[in-house]
Symmetry: C2
Subunit: 169 residues, 2 copies
């Protein structure tokens, strides 16, 4: 199973491709970011995200998309823009007929480090270690995309539960 | 100029088509809603919204899409879902090469009733009156879509200013 993990953003969306080649063994299949220029109109930025993500899905043929749930703190204006971007990412997955699993930030930490209150640094260290990479994957957004993909592999058996929880969202 | 007004929602998105046939004269070109079933997975609901809106744009050939800006009060979870839906609406506009104008709720009230603090009832009454309709357009979400389209016609001369303000969003 090849998992495409996505950490949604407007300016920068991180992605990571992780496969579980044999039970319990993770294989790194790439990572990167999708960027959009700040000066561009919102609907054009969304089209860019959709197009690049659709191309990535075509090129990498994942079996499932794992995507982080949004969590708003103070900046609701930024939050709306990121949610709009997340919407077109979900659409790209739907148009590619891929199942989607959604994870809260604490679930990603739990799924990678084993602790829901782990720091971002711990998550990135474990991501590097679990994938056997020589250094920390860069940039951080891409590392977060990999972490979300790892989380999905680790929580795989619970996937059907998560998908049905997602339907109720 | 034919304006497609959109009042974004996840379960129900209202739309209205309004043209300014001659200077100052508004013409009603239809209204309705795009609905998605609550039990369906989020990415499939978004695909349904995108598909139906794209079909509507193909069939009605508007010159511009006017869409309400989101304003979060308490329910941030609902707000995220609506923002995701708004994202795929902006994408449908981008894929149809249409310009997009975005209006805050108070701007819509101002643009239809002339008062930013007008009630929803006043906006709906003026929408019916300005379009010369025999009764209030139903359902309310569709009436709100018409109001957003009217707002854009009335604020037309300020459009370029709004579009550039939008780019900075």
């Amino acid at each position: 199973m090849l998992v495409l993990g996505l950490d949604p953003g407007t300016a920068t969306t991180g992605y990571g491709l992780v496969a579980n080649a044999r039970s319990g063994v993770l294989a790194h299949h790439g990572h990167g970011i999708i960027s959009t220029p700040a000066g561009e109109e919102p609907h054009k930025r969304l089209a860019r995200i959709y197009d690049e993500l659709s191309a990535l899905i075509r090129d990498s043929s994942p079996d499932v998309v794992a995507i982080e749930e949004l969590f708003f703190k103070q900046n609701i204006t930024t939050g709306i823009a990121v949610a709009q971007a997340r919407g077109v990412m979900l659409l790209a997955a739907a148009h590619a007929d891929l199942p989607v699993a959604s994870y809260k930030p604490a679930e990603v930490k739990q799924g990678v480090v084993g602790v829901g209150r782990a720091t971002k640094d711990q998550v990135r260290f474990m991501t590097k270690t679990l994938l056997g990479l020589p250094g920390r994957p860069k940039p951080d957004d891409a590392a977060d995309g990999l972490a979300i993909a790892i989380c999905h592999v680790h929580r795989g058996p619970a996937e059907s539960r998560l998908l049905s929880a997602l339907s109720a969202q």
